[in-house]
């Protein structure tokens, strides 16, 4: 399946975090690579939206919309912002 860029979910991220996030720096919890969120690999057609590290493929963030709520899992990140 084809990935898109973190930039593509700028709207979703803004909804969740309340701010423009695509230029925020994220650090992968597995390999430690620091990248702007806009550069991350996004799989939007999974059940929910899965954000992976382009360097090591570790899952960084998962967003699942259930009715009007968005469930957020950031366990794969060492840091964000």
């Amino acid at each position: 399946m084809d990935a898109v860029d973190g930039n593509a979910i700028g709207g979703l991220l803004h909804e969740v975090f309340g701010a423009e996030m695509t230029t925020t720096v994220s650090v992968c919890g597995t390999c430690g690579t620091a990248r702007q969120v806009g550069e991350l690999a996004v799989y939007a057609h999974a059940p929910g939206t899965v954000v992976r590290c382009p360097s090591c493929d570790n899952v960084l963030m998962v967003f699942v919309k259930i009715h009007d709520r968005t469930c957020v899992d950031l366990m794969g990140l060492a840091s964000l912002g």
Partner: protein, 247 residues
């Protein structure tokens, strides 16, 4: 101003369709009137939300085709199996309303102070945010040199061709047609790869700034080739559309 109070939040709002222009057989440019639009940067996008009679909601992102300071225009390619694009390209009429939120994204944007020389690589409708960058450059009087390499299937699939053909002298527009080339075609006729970029792209020593937009496979191939040729990864901005769209 009502819009100012909401700055920082991203809210859905209703835009009105001013006009719909035919770009190619499958591509339309939709001019919108968006009340309280806060303004946008070249390269940003909006999310569009369609809701059907049974409250089924579909959301998609579309790049803004117009320059900062111009009314919001979206250029949309119809994907035959798409949930949203066939409605936008085939059904939408002037006076219709559309739900959108934006502008979105700070990563794939260009301002004159970001410098150049600029290398713009477009695959199919990946030209849309790059057209915003080109118009922004022209409107701000920037003299930063630009090369645009634009990959399409056929000449008829080239979006904004009239506008690109009239581009300023310091904007080099290079076409490659991957499926069919008309008789006497003087442009390229092959896919964008390392060999083509070696002929067309600014050398890495010129410290260029690259923007690559199109289907995922196009963006991966082009951006990897640029990095291999010595472009620093942070000087290669990418926007992948996913698996669909013609290059």
């Amino acid at each position: 101003m009502a819009g100012t109070a909401l700055r920082g939040r991203l809210t859905w709002q209703v835009a009105k369709v001013v006009s719909v222009a035919v770009e190619t057989g499958s591509v339309r440019t939709i001019m919108l009137d968006v009340p309280n639009w806060p303004g946008h940067q070249a390269g940003q996008h909006v999310d569009i939300r369609l809701t059907d009679e049974e409250d089924y909601v579909a959301e998609r992102s579309y790049s803004i085709a117009s320059a900062p300071g111009e009314p919001v225009a979206l250029t949309v390619e119809r994907l035959d199996d798409g949930e949203v694009s066939p409605y936008l390209t085939d059904e939408l009429r002037a006076g219709d309303e559309l739900e959108l939120r934006g502008p979105i994204g700070g990563y794939f944007v260009w301002e004159p102070e970001d410098g150049g020389p600029l290398l713009l690589l477009a695959g199919g409708s990946g030209i849309v945010p790059l057209r915003s960058i080109l118009r922004h450059r022209e409107r701000t009087g920037s003299t930063i040199p630009v090369r645009l390499l634009y990959s399409s299937r056929t000449l008829d699939d080239v979006i904004y061709r009239g506008e690109l053909d009239k581009a300023a002298a310091d904007v080099e527009v290079i076409y490659t047609l991957t499926r069919h080339q008309p008789p006497g075609w003087a442009g390229y006729g092959r896919r964008v790869d390392s060999a083509l970029l070696a002929e067309v792209a600014w050398p890495a020593s010129a410290m260029p700034l690259a923007y690559v937009c199109g289907p995922t496979s196009f963006v991966e191939a082009a951006s990897q080739a640029l990095v291999q040729s010595g472009y620093p990864p942070q000087r290669v901005k990418t926007e992948r559309f996913g698996g669909t769209g013609g290059t």
